[in-house]
């Protein structure tokens, strides 16, 4: 197993003097047959599994009424119309900074979780963990628990084995297909798309993505499992740099467990007053581990800290009437303190937890402020690049601009356009059409209208470039938005 972990527990097993030259470069992965456990952390994991998968599988069907011109799906990424809907929020592509903010919050939350309780994300919430759990559950139902699976895999191919394997892979593929199928529902109206998919009238790209995600889910959760955590995921490496001696990590309490020996020997030793650890070396923690780590060798890259070894060990401790939590969420500090005979302490509020919490609050509040004060219309101007200005027959100078007026409300709106900053300037909207009146622009529901605006002055201005402000005001509320550009002029 150690050979799995290039930077982790391997150091325990490798003779340091031998040097790197003597290590094999590649060792084939050993299959991990994780054993079923019962206990508190297993229950937490089942609960979270049901919750997260429930959200994933059902969310596309949640409805949210936005009026007739808008989709009524609560959460939807409308790539064709370039909108993202999240319940009462509708994000336009130029507001992608909300996504940036969300990602920053997600990163800091990950850091905070890590500083408080280690790799909670890896062990309980990561999709790789959740789907692997689901796949392993199916595997256990069909092929049996650890021992049976090992025996069957080593045994000859019998009819039963073929039948079970076929059934397992079919079930896996069904789960994977269902997973991929739900993914595409986030990109189109879910009930409509389901109907289209069922009648084979959906866009080919939908089937393609279902295919891709079926494949990745089947391979990642069915076949690669812990390999993803060990070789593909960057988080274990980053996590190793972020953890500290105060973080709660799944820890084997070596102060209590060592020296490990059989139950009988331990009882004998205790009667003689000799040191005897609680660990009976039963190997249940290793058998339960979904990544095949031996937690007793200390924290490692391979350990996703799911707590299943805690449940496994507790079951054994209960049976041999020793105190539970030989393996527990614990900190390095406390191991040392117990050794020194001091009371264990846990400091939740530390410099780093406080810092992460403050940063999360800061980014979160900034985003909230931006969201609450977000304008439901806007204007942007693009000056013609070529030519910058045009001399007209009577000596006047004109500049041309593309003006984009965005209406984020789901109803028609009229905006009054005015310009400021260039004295005695006149402007004209090219092709002001039906519904427009001179300087009044009609913008459809949830749309951006692009108009060409010609601004002219009767003679060249002083200075080659004069700031100009385009202001659009909602004709009903009078609220306005503006944008700044420049008016270019030939020399006087």
């Amino acid at each position: 197993m150690n050979a799995h972990l290039p930077n982790g527990t391997a150091s325990h097993a490798v003779d340091v003097d031998a040097g790197l030259d003597d290590l094999p470069l590649y060792v084939a992965a050993e299959h991990v047959y994780s054993q079923r456990v019962h206990g508190f952390y297993r229950r937490v994991k089942w609960t979270l599994l049901v919750l997260t998968l429930g959200v994933y599988y059902l969310l596309p069907f949640a409805r949210w009424d936005r009026g007739p011109s808008e989709p009524s799906q609560a959460v939807m990424v409308d790539l064709a119309r370039r909108r993202f809907y999240f319940f009462f929020i509708e994000i336009w592509p130029q507001e992608v900074y909300y996504l940036t903010g969300l990602l920053i919050i997600a990163a800091f939350t990950l850091f905070l979780m890590n500083a408080v309780a280690g790799r909670v994300w890896c062990g309980y919430l990561c999709p790789q963990t959740v789907w692997t759990d689901l796949f392993t559950f199916a595997e256990r139902l069909i092929e049996g628990d650890r021992r049976e699976r090992i025996a069957k895999d080593q045994g000859p191919w019998t009819f039963q084995k073929v039948r079970e394997k076929a059934l397992k892979h079919t079930v896996w593929l069904l789960i994977a297909w269902w997973t991929g199928g739900v993914w595409v529902l986030y990109f189109e109206d879910a009930p409509t798309l389901v109907r289209k998919l069922a009648t084979f009238t959906a866009e080919p790209v939908a089937y393609l993505w279902i295919g891709i995600l079926t494949f990745t889910t089947y391979v990642l959760a069915g076949h690669m499992r812990e390999q993803v955590c060990l070789y593909m995921c960057p988080w274990p490496r980053i996590q190793a740099a972020l953890t500290d001696e105060n973080a709660l990590n799944v820890t084997y309490r070596s102060d209590r467990g060592e020296p490990r020996m059989s139950l009988k020997k331990a009882e004998a030793a205790r009667q003689h007053g000799a040191a005897a650890g609680d660990c009976v070396d039963c190997g249940q923690c290793v058998a339960a581990c979904p990544t095949g780590v031996d937690i007793r060798e200390g924290a490692s890259l391979g350990c996703i800290q799911c707590g299943l070894c805690i449940d496994a060990c507790d079951a054994v401790m209960k049976r041999i009437h020793r105190p539970e939590r030989l393996i527990a969420y614990d900190t390095d500090v406390n191991i040392k303190r117990r050794r020194a005979g001091e009371q264990p302490i846990y400091r939740l509020i530390r410099a780093r937890t406080a810092l992460y919490a403050c940063l999360i609050a800061f980014v979160g509040l900034t985003m909230l402020y931006a969201l609450v004060t977000r304008s439901d219309f806007g204007v942007a101007a693009i000056h013609d690049r070529n030519p910058l200005y045009t001399r007209l027959a009577d000596g006047a100078v004109h500049n041309a601009y593309e003006l984009r007026v965005a209406n984020k409300k789901p109803s028609d709106r009229r905006f009054v356009l005015t310009i400021e900053g260039v004295p005695a300037a006149r402007f004209e909207v090219v092709g002001a059409g039906a519904g427009d009146e001179a300087d009044m622009l009609l913008v459809g529901p949830d749309q951006t209208r692009e108009v060409r605006v010609l601004v002219s002055v009767s003679a060249p201005l002083e200075g080659s470039s004069t700031p100009i402000v385009f202001r659009v005001a909602d004709s009903q509320t009078g609220k306005s938005a503006w944008t700044r550009d420049f008016f270019d002029s030939p020399p006087q």
Binding site: D22, P24, Y26, D384, R385, N386, P387, T390, R391, L392, A393, D394, G395, H398, A400, V430, G431, A432, G433, A434, R449, E450, R452, L454
Partner: protein, 293 residues
């Protein structure tokens, strides 16, 4: 190099050796991963299939055909057909609508400006410039001085039939005589006319030029087309000489050169090359640049 017949296990690493021995140095047998090898074999199989299916083997005057009958030229043709189908709705609407209607209908205007902008970049920008700003001898289409008229109808006519384009019987034709080359006017007379033309446009004539004589010569030679006041005549394609916009430049030298050599620029008749929807899109695009009337 010695070959040993029996594959041996390297004691140090526990890996089989290839059996090759170079003066005591042995090579470990670490074969490629099976998935890699099978992918490699699969690509070989694929290559054979590809050679049979697609044009592949070069021959003296061409290449093998391939049983799928695929051809890069037919692929392009079908792509163009697909594109036409994709655009059919909008382009049909443009073809059917009057340019004035297009310009006042936001959807059609946006379509026309997009299609017109693309067609302009390909067909017009080599002479008129990327933004239609023109250059010496090539009109600036953003400005509002039009030799042949700047209404939508005028612009559509010009684009369709061109200017001095012999292949089109309806092309716009005007001919400025070469007053100097054909010796209609003497060099000093040309200087006088040039001086008067600058005066007409509100510019200072060259020093020592008798503009009064120039005025008389202008009335006799130029006014039939350019008008007595020099304001031109769009019917005849005679430019307005009193504006701030000059096609060939407003320096005395530029004006003298024009009077000497005469003639005028040539614009192709695009009606022979572009479809009606594109012509209308171009018309609206040019009109909306800013100088349209």
């Amino acid at each position: 190099m010695a070959e040993s017949s029996q594959p041996e296990i390297d004691a140090h690493t526990g890996t089989q050796t290839t059996g090759h021995d170079w003066d005591g140095i042995k090579e470990l047998n670490t074969p490629l991963p099976r998935w890699w090898l099978w992918t490699f074999y699969a690509t070989i199989v694929f290559a054979f299939g590809y050679v049979l299916a697609y044009p592949a083997v070069p021959l003296i005057t061409g290449s093998t055909e391939g049983f799928l009958g695929w051809h890069s030229r037919s692929a392009v043709t079908s792509d163009i057909e697909d594109l036409k189908k994709l655009r059919a709705g909008l382009m049909d609407k443009l073809a059917a609508a009057d340019p004035a209607k297009i310009e006042t209908t936001p959807d059609l205007l946006a379509a026309a400006r997009a299609a017109g902008g693309a067609a302009f970049a390909i067909n017009c920008s080599p002479c008129h410039g990327a933004g239609g700003q023109g250059s010496k001898g090539y009109p600036n289409l953003n400005a509002d001085r039009w030799i042949w008229g700047g209404t939508l109808a005028d612009i559509q006519q010009t684009i369709t039939h061109g200017i001095r384009w012999d292949a089109d019987p309806d092309t716009r034709v005007s001919q400025m005589p070469a007053f100097g080359k054909d010796e209609i006017l003497k060099p000093d007379e040309i200087d006088q006319v040039a001086g008067f033309v600058r005066l007409l446009a509100g510019l200072t004539p060259a020093e020592g030029v008798d503009t009064a004589k120039g005025a008389l010569l202008f009335a006799a030679n130029c006014s039939p087309c350019h008008g007595a006041d020099g304001k031109g005549n769009k019917e005849m394609g005679a430019p307005n000489l009193t504006t701030k916009v000059w096609l060939y430049g407003s320096d005395t030298k530029d004006i003298v050169n024009r009077i000497m050599a005469g003639g005028g620029g040539v614009m192709p008749a695009w009606g022979q090359k572009l479809d009606i929807a594109t012509i209308k899109a171009l018309t609206v695009f040019v009109h909306s640049l800013g100088g349209g009337q």
